[in-house]
């Protein structure tokens, strides 16, 4: 791993261009009826780094996240992944292009076993085609390879003993780890984590943080949406702050936390004034 900081000389401003962007978004707008949920002029995500997307409730983070994973379509604007346009691309195609996401409400497939969950995450299994499915020789070998990779990941996430259990019988934290492990089956270039710390007990937090840093060390780019500032400060290389649909600040964690605009967005403009009806603005 290079010692050169990829974020050196990157200006601490919204929409700052990155040295080696893996995601670039331009003029993205998403409206719901009369409400503009997302209005981002320019956005770039640095490759091989951990980027955090934060902001107060209703800032549009989740909507923007969905737009960047194909689970929602913007009214205006476009974005690209690895130089390829992802405009109008379905979520499945985005995943196949190398960008995998997890969900805030963990979607472990409960009535399937852990190992089957993992196998499902793999790409390029010809047996998933209906015609090839009839001829096991066409897919047996790939299944063996997939199972091997799954075992490796399960060991890493300490879920190997549970591999034949139904995912529904795992604890909440274990299901979160399973979802993360499953996302890695297809060897993605980028992993998008939707509030990975949501509902996670403190004992598991450290473990999760370590796993995410390990991802970066393996060359996977990570973007996560979070409310947990502790996590943001601990592991993110770069922080992007959204409020009211727009990006209001970018920078390394410490400088962003001290940014007065960011503080205002979180605490409200009049955080030190009397909020009774008579007070003037």
């Amino acid at each position: 791993m290079t010692d050169i900081d990829p974020f050196a000389n990157v200006p601490h401003e919204p929409g700052a261009p990155k040295k080696d962007p893996i995601v670039i978004a331009d003029h993205v707008q998403r409206r719901f009826g009369g409400l503009t949920a997302v209005d981002v002029d320019h956005f770039e995500v640095q490759r091989h780094a951990i980027t955090a997307l934060i902001g107060p409730n209703g800032a549009g983070k989740s909507t923007f996240f969905n737009l960047l994973t194909g689970f929602d379509k913007p009214q205006k604007g476009e974005w690209q992944f690895n130089g390829n346009s992802m405009k109008g691309v379905s979520p499945a195609k985005v995943a196949r292009a190398g960008k995998v996401r997890t969900f805030q409400l963990t979607k472990a497939l409960n009535r399937m076993t852990v190992i089957e969950n993992m196998r499902l995450g793999a790409a390029d299994q010809r047996g998933e085609n209906i015609f090839a499915a009839f001829i096991p020789t066409l897919w047996r070998q790939r299944e063996i390879d997939i199972t091997e990779r799954a075992h490796g990941l399960l060991h890493r996430f300490q879920l190997f003993e549970k591999k034949d259990d139904f995912a529904g019988s795992l604890s909440g934290g274990q299901r979160k780890l399973l979802e993360m492990a499953r996302a890695l089956m297809s060897e993605p270039e980028m992993v998008m984590l939707d509030e990975p710390m949501a509902g996670v007990n403190p004992a598991l937090t450290e473990s999760l943080l370590e796993h995410i840093v390990k991802l970066k060390n393996e060359g996977v780019s990570v973007l996560f949406v979070e409310h947990d500032m502790h996590m943001v400060r601990r592991i993110s290389d770069w922080v992007v702050v959204m409020a009211e649909g727009r990006i209001i600040a970018e920078g390394p964690p410490d400088s962003v936390m001290l940014n007065p605009q960011v503080q205002e967005a979180y605490l409200g403009v009049h955080h030190d004034t009397d909020l009774s009806e008579e007070s003037s603005s």
Binding site: T69, F71, S90, P91, A92, K93, A95, R96, V100, R101, T102, F103, K107, L109, N110, R111, M112, E116, R119, L120, G121, A123, Q125, R126, G127, E128, N129, I130, A132, A133, F134, P136, W139, E143, F166, G168, S169, R182, A183, M185, S186
Partner: protein, 325 residues
């Protein structure tokens, strides 16, 4: 009583039982594997029997008739699925019921009399001949142990053999496919479509494949049923679909042998209940005419109890419950 037991035992292998087992295998692709709430399986069955009977009546050979039956059902599946597979659960149920009823209305309509025979349907002698001609059994009543069936005509030993052979074939196909990676994707879709999308699979395409395959199997079941009875649109109405659901849930949805076991249990129980009721309940309380609705009333109650207390049916695994809450 002895006669009743023979009747019950015979019911276990009649062509009707085989046909409904097949229909349930088709539904197992839809609901058991993929979680699709197809409430229109009777529509697929009716289209299958129309396709077969009309082709034969117009002079076509059997192999062509089978192809027509399959193609008609598959096209119906595609037309049905193309706009509707994006609908959630109970909406899809209502649309599939409506579509199946439309097929029935169109089939029984006076306007199509020359094609479908309207409400009378297509009589056996117009389409059964070529199939019966293939029978290796003698052209008379044949006794096998206590069971007497005709060798070739209508509900015959020949049809019994063919029907159950098809059940075996399609059960095998279901088994192979459900154990394959293709089946795994469908099971994932049954759990959570978005999760499967996030793993790079085209959910819509897989659902369509399940719908079409299950519908094609339904069409075959319709052909078998018609070969033992006749092509009559009113016998393929909503109750028929509901019986298929009942016997699939009874045997165990998403299991390999659930459809077969469910069909056998369903039909044997019906005969048994009717028989016992006829024997034990005096005619003044329950008349001959009332036996049929009485036993079907119990079918309805059974469905309710099954779904509430044992949704996994006889063979199902409680953890792998086919219902997604």
């Amino acid at each position: 009583m002895g006669d009743l037991l023979i009747d019950v035992a015979r019911e276990a292998f009649t062509p009707t039982t085989a046909a409904f087992a097949l229909a349930a295998v088709g539904l197992n692709f839809h609901f058991g594997l993929t979680g699709l709430l197809n409430m229109g399986q009777a529509g697929f069955m009716l289209l299958g029997m129309y396709g077969y009977a009309i082709t034969v009546r117009e002079g076509g050979p059997i192999w062509l008739a089978i192809i027509v039956a399959l193609v008609v059902a598959m096209v119906f599946g595609v037309i049905l699925g193309w706009p509707t597979l994006k609908l959630r659960g109970d909406y899809l149920a209502i649309v599939t019921i409506a579509a199946a009823e439309m097929v029935r209305y169109l089939g029984r309509s006076q306007n199509f009399n020359s094609l479908t025979g309207a409400s009378t349907g297509i009589r056996g002698n117009e389409f059964k001949g070529s199939f019966e001609a293939l029978s290796p059994f003698p052209d008379r009543m044949v006794d096998v142990g206590p069971f007497a069936l005709h060798g070739t005509r209508s509900t015959s030993w020949w049809l019994v053999v063919v029907g159950w052979a098809l059940v075996a074939i399609f059960t095998l196909i279901f088994w192979r496919l459900s154990k394959s990676p293709w089946g795994r994707v469908l099971k994932g879709i049954r759990e959570d479509e978005d999760a499967v999308r996030s793993l790079g699979k085209n959910v819509y395409s897989y659902k369509m494949q399940a719908l079409v395959i299950g519908g094609a199997v339904g069409a075959v079941s319709g052909v078998i049923w018609a070969l033992g009875a006749s092509v009559q649109p009113d016998s393929m109405g909503r109750p028929t679909t509901f019986w298929v659901w009942t016997l699939l849930l009874l045997g165990g949805a998403a299991t390999i042998f659930g459809p077969v076991l469910g069909s056998i249990l369903f039909w044997c129980s019906l005969v048994l209940i009717k028989g016992l009721a006829a024997m034990w309940i005096p005619d003044t309380v329950l008349s001959q005419q009332q036996l049929q609705p009485f036993s079907l009333l119990l079918v309805g109650v059974t469905l309710m109890l099954l779904v509430i207390f044992r949704p996994q049916g006889v063979l199902g695994d409680k953890r792998e419950l086919a219902f997604n809450d």
